[in-house]
């Protein structure tokens, strides 16, 4: 278990609020294997986004430590990408220039031969010169996904990237993500409150408790790959979703939407 890409060892995190400290995560230990697609689910306030920000080096844990490639994590690792819940596109840049941003900042120049195929791959043919405000929410999130993939990351951290999209579009984006993931198979940590999405995408689902977040359950999803061609609401998907749903129901907490 200690030879994963990410090893979280007894992680706790507290936020300093005006009326004292709020505990967001308590005693989280988990391992993310290299090449694994891991989903983290939990109700609002279970600290799942906090966990992702800890992995991204954007926050420092209050207790415990994170190993990345076996070494303690200090700051943001070099070969990762993050997709946020909001597309976070720079409104003064075109679609193509937004996708090129990571390459530009790392001094690789805006390699057109890498950007044009990526625009195609996320289904935005002909929109390279468009400005972000001209796109719908779903299209903006496609751009954000392309931007995360352009640097060919080893680790992709995704923080409820499709939560703001309607159900049908979310299914479409799930398939798109899986199709792209199959090509290079980076390690993915995918945070969501949608149990169905988690089961459909991931090799393994980690269920967090309400605040402060603790690991309630780890569930291996033994569905065949590639999955972007199987039915998202198929018979083999449903039992896993029900198991996770029942878990939260027993807990008496507000069940995350599925």
């Amino acid at each position: 278990m200690r030879d994963g890409l990410i090893v979280a060892d007894h992680l706790s995190h507290q936020f300093q609020k005006r009326d004292g400290r709020v505990s967001a995560l308590r005693d989280i230990s988990l391992t993310v294997a290299s090449g694994e697609f891991l989903a983290i689910v939990g109700p609002s306030g279970s600290g799942k986004s906090t966990l992702l920000r800890l992995f991204a080096g954007l926050l420092q844990p209050s207790e415990g430590c994170i190993l990345y490639h076996g070494a303690p994590l200090t700051g943001t690792p070099p070969d990762i990408s993050v997709v946020f819940q909001k597309p976070a596109l720079l409104p003064w840049r075109t679609v193509a220039d937004n996708i090129a941003l990571p390459l530009q900042l790392s001094g690789e120049g805006s390699a057109q031969q890498r950007i044009a195929p990526l625009i195609e791959a996320v289904g935005l043919h002909g929109f390279g010169a468009a400005m972000p405000h001209e796109l719908s929410g779903g299209m903006q999130q496609r751009v954000s996904l392309a931007r995360a993939l352009v640097s060919q990351p080893r680790l992709l951290l995704m923080d409820e990237p499709f939560a703001a999209l309607d159900m049908m579009l979310r299914g479409e984006m799930n398939r798109l993500l899986l199709g792209l993931w199959e090509e290079t198979r980076p390690t993915v940590v995918f945070v969501t409150h949608d149990l169905h999405e988690a089961v459909f995408l991931a090799d393994r689902v980690i269920a967090l408790s309400p605040r402060p977040g603790r690991v309630l359950r780890e569930l291996a999803i033994e569905l065949p790959r590639p999955r972007h061609t199987i039915e998202r609401y198929g018979h083999d998907v449903q039992p896993y979703v029900e198991q996770l749903g029942a878990l939260y129901e027993r807990l008496g907490s507000r069940e995350p939407a599925s």
């Binding site: 080096g57 993050v82 909001k86 720079l90 900042l105 010169a129 001209e134 719908s136 929410g137 779903g138």
Partner: protein
């Protein structure tokens, strides 16, 4: 129609970005028409009210005076001096305000410490400081530039702080994950994000800079449009000349403001 309702895929919603509505613009006409109407009203008031020229000269008299000032070349030194003071004052006020504003925006603790001083400074009318500045810096250009710079400082400072603070947290996190250097963060995030707000301050500042220069000239100067107003008032009570100075000032402020709007259109094309 039905097809669309059956397949509500939201990404078909956006139309091709190149198609934009073209409309015949008529709003540029409002300024000349308004000016003409004002002139006619002015003429009417002078004629009907039988007002003496030293109170309100007829537009024709002002036009004569204007023509004379231009043909003899006497107007230009005044315009040149006031324009120089305005631009120099604005440049200095802008430079100091943006640097201080950026530093304060990045350090909320420093801003809390400095804020009372800034507000107190702003509470003293800068115009009332003009006599003091003239006696400190002399009747030359320096005192006018100083008044202008001081009056420009505050709006630019506030807009810089608001602009830099307007950057979304997620954008900052994105650039952190991308290992952006401080310069890259400034160049690719903070500067473009702050520009629309900053331009609000620049528009206010450039017109205030003219006011600052003129107020400085009132206190003591031989050339400049403010000085010309003093000359027109003193002794002869040449009200027509006074109007020439006022109209020139208004045109100068308008030209400067238009230049800023043009620059804004060039630099902030992304915001509709």
């Amino acid at each position: 129609m039905f097809q669309e309702q059956l397949h509500p895929r939201s990404h078909v919603r956006a139309t091709a970005p190149t198609q934009r509505k073209r409309r015949v613009r008529t709003d540029w006409l409002t300024l000349p028409i308004g000016a003409l109407a004002l002139l006619m009203l002015w003429q009417l008031v002078v004629m009907v009210g039988d007002i003496p020229a030293f109170i309100l000269p007829a537009p024709r008299k002002v036009a004569q005076s204007f023509a004379e000032m231009i043909s003899t070349g006497r107007l230009w030194p005044h315009v040149g001096v006031t324009l120089f003071e305005t631009l120099a004052g604005f440049a200095i006020g802008f430079a100091v305000a943006t640097v201080v504003g950026y530093a304060l925006a990045k350090r909320p603790h420093a801003e809390r410490a400095v804020a009372p001083w800034l507000v107190a400074m702003q509470a003293v009318p800068i115009v009332a400081l003009a006599p003091l500045l003239v006696s400190w810096l002399g009747v030359g250009l320096a005192s006018k530039i100083a008044v202008s710079a001081l009056i420009v400082f505050f709006p630019i400072l506030i807009n810089t702080i608001i602009g830099v603070r307007s950057v979304d947290q997620e954008w900052h996190e994105l650039l952190s994950v991308l290992h952006a250097t401080r310069w890259q963060r400034f160049r690719h995030l903070e500067l473009p994000a702050a520009l629309p707000v900053l331009f609000g301050g620049i528009k206010l500042g450039i017109t205030l800079a003219v006011v600052g220069a003129v107020v400085g000239e009132f206190i003591g100067a031989r050339t400049g449009l403010g000085a010309l107003i003093n000359i027109a008032r003193g002794g002869f009570y040449d009200t027509a000349l006074l109007f020439v100075a006022l109209i020139t000032l208004a045109l100068m402020a308008l030209a400067l403001y238009s230049a800023v709007v043009l620059l804004e259109r060039l630099l902030v094309r992304w915001r509709r």
